[in-house]
């Protein structure tokens, strides 16, 4: 296989070729490192690339395979890891200046499971600072550019992971999703992203944003690759108190089957209409019709309290974040400013946090501090928790009538860099469709279903009940099969600056 084939082949096929010795993991890893060197100056998907470590991991996998071992279905395949997950000895910043230079003394459970499975970690991907954002523009290290159009954002907070996939810098990536940070970037980049059921994947070693909403998950270019990755990282972890002690849903079998015959698909009335781009709505309707053609039964469901979900989310998230981010106190790790012998601990703390946090982080910490402060707690945080109950009740009622719920992933396709940076509410509206799932804790994913007239990807959002993550892959795989036939190949073949060239100019 030549280098351009190696970077465009699916993870499943790469793993197969590595297992049979057709190609080595070192060759595959080298091809991706070369691709990163060629294009990442323009894309900026990575905050750090661990060339030496990746090649050593790849060589170790090759040795295990040569010794007759079969380390797993993704062994030897490279991956891009979101910089919010700890990797021992490797820079881990969460996109923040306050953690610049920090090298964790331990691995996140997700990281450890990847390494145990022989997955090769190429480097750490760019993100909005502490995962607060929907464009990756809040990264303290500069924005990531959307490979479909460098003047546009790749979404966020996991824009780096999604862009790495779309730019063929890695066939697999890990994201984390608190309000849409896996699914919205997937929609903006024409890739696949799944937020598993809350507790399905361990949060141990994930730098916490909002602990009751955060969930790591798999990102890929194909539905099967994403499912294979899901299976590698999922499962109970005693180190995470909220980890589900339950079997992993049969996601890989579902992705292979891709059968939606008889599946009841619920269209959520409230997730559409005003504020949604006509092209996005048209694509959504056409996709629902396609599911009906493939044998699904389409019903309309109403979730009236979803319209309050965004407001509840922007109270619960800042409240939990203001508490979680208190750990950045300049005492045990991270940036310390002003420790000149005259200042007190509290003064050093305040100076360090002022210097180390970006604007959006400060906004949210202060909102959270306000929402939790005496006299306002019941009205703000308390009311938001009640909305959370109502959203869960809406989901329960809707799932009584439908096996999965569907909506557009985002109201619009990717917007331009800078366009919404200083208008927090406009930025927050990105997550209108994805937030209800985080409040309720069920599973959801985004799958690419088309392009706008401007050539920008559009995502289709599928939501499933708790622990029924496999249904997402059934729907995603059915759509992928039908649409790839119609398109005459995967959507990502149409990324400008074809995948077969190694030079990209901006």
């Amino acid at each position: 296989m030549d280098a351009s084939t190696l970077i465009t082949t699916s993870a499943a096929d790469l793993a197969g070729a590595i297992a049979t010795g057709e190609v080595s993991s070192v060759e595959v890893t080298r091809a991706h490192l070369d691709r990163i060197a060629a294009v990442d100056g323009a894309v900026h998907a990575f905050l750090s690339v661990d060339e030496e470590g990746a090649l050593a991991q790849a060589a170790a996998v090759d040795a295990r395979i040569a010794a007759g071992e079969r380390p797993g279905p993704l062994a030897g395949v490279p991956l891009a890891l979101k910089d919010v997950l700890a990797q021992k000895g490797v820079p881990t910043t969460a996109g923040s200046k306050i953690l610049e230079g920090w090298r964790p003394p331990y691995n996140a459970t997700v990281t450890q499971r990847l390494l145990d499975a022989g997955v090769v970690i190429l480097g750490k991907t760019n993100m909005d600072e502490f995962a607060m954002g929907s464009s990756t523009e809040n990264s303290a290290y500069g924005p990531t550019h959307n490979p479909w159009d460098f003047t546009r954002v790749p979404g966020g907070s996991g824009g780096g992971s999604a862009a790495a996939l779309a730019a063929f810098e890695a066939p697999l990536a890990i994201g984390t999703d608190t309000g849409g940070s896996i699914r919205q970037p997937a929609a903006f980049t024409g890739t696949v992203g799944v937020k598993p059921t809350y507790g399905g994947i361990s949060r141990f070693g994930q730098i916490a944003l909002a602990s009751s909403l955060d969930q790591p998950g798999p990102c890929g270019r194909t539905v099967l690759d994403t499912a294979l990755l899901h299976e590698v990282i999922a499962g109970h972890d005693p180190k995470d108190q909220t980890s589900l002690d339950a079997p992993v849903p049969p996601v890989v079998a579902a992705a292979r089957a891709g059968d939606v015959r008889g599946l009841r698909v619920g269209v959520v009335t409230e997730l559409g209409g005003e504020g949604y781009a006509p092209e996005v709505e048209a694509n959504f309707r056409a996709t629902v019709d396609l599911l009906a053609e493939l044998g699904a039964e389409v019903v309309e469901v109403s979730c009236p309290t979803f319209e309050y979900a965004l407001a509840a989310y922007y109270l619960i998230l800042p409240s939990e974040a203001s508490s979680n981010l208190a750990r950045f106190d300049a005492m045990r790790y991270g940036l310390r400013v002003g420790d000149d012998g005259t200042r007190s601990t509290e003064q050093v703390m305040a100076l360090s946090r002022e210097a180390g946090f970006g604007a959006e982080v400060k906004r949210r910490i202060i909102i959270g501090t306000y929402a939790l402060s005496a006299g306002y707690r019941d009205a703000y945080y308390g009311s938001a928790q009640k909305v959370r109950t109502l959203v869960q009740q809406d989901f329960t009622a809707a799932f009584a009538r439908a096996d999965v719920l569907v909506s557009p992933t985002t109201p619009t396709a990717a917007f331009r860099l800078g366009e919404r940076l200083d208008d927090p509410m406009a930025m927050y509206l990105n997550d209108l469709c994805t937030i209800p799932t985080n409040l309720a804790g069920n599973a959801a994913g985004s799958f690419p279903t088309g392009l706008t007239g401007d050539g920008l990807p559009i995502g289709f959002h599928v939501m499933a009940p708790h622990r029924a993550d496999d249904r997402l892959y059934r729907v995603g795989a059915a759509l992928e099969r039908a649409l790839t036939d119609r398109w005459g190949g995967p959507l990502l073949n149409r990324v400008p600056g074809p995948a077969t060239t190694t030079e990209v100019t901006r």
Binding site: P105, Y333, A350
Partner: protein, 98 residues
């Protein structure tokens, strides 16, 4: 509701962030817009609705009480802003005015 710059300054102090006057002036109106938008949760949060703090109800999750190795002290302290012997060194904690 209107959030004044003084109130934002007080919140920033509670959150241990030493905001500059320019940041206060920029943030206060933005926070106001956000708070106004999120206040609509009170429209539906009536007394008869129970609050939810966690998406999957769980109580008393314990792991087995087993001894495991701790992280090596030197590896942990290598990432500290400052150390003294086997401990984190921090600025003075006494003599606070507040």
């Amino acid at each position: 509701m209107a959030l004044s710059q003084d109130e934002v300054a007080r919140l920033a102090q509670l959150a241990r962030i030493d905001l500059s006057p320019a940041e206060l002036a920029h943030l206060a109106p933005q926070l106001d817009v956000i708070l106004e938008a999120v206040a609509r949760v009170t429209d539906v949060a009536t007394d008869d609705v129970a609050p939810t703090s966690h998406p999957v109800p769980m109580t008393n999750v314990f792991r087995a009480d087993e001894v495991h190795d701790s992280l090596p002290v030197d590896e942990v302290l290598a990432m500290a802003p400052d150390r003294e012997d086997d401990r984190f060194r921090v600025p003075r904690i006494l003599g606070e005015e507040q």
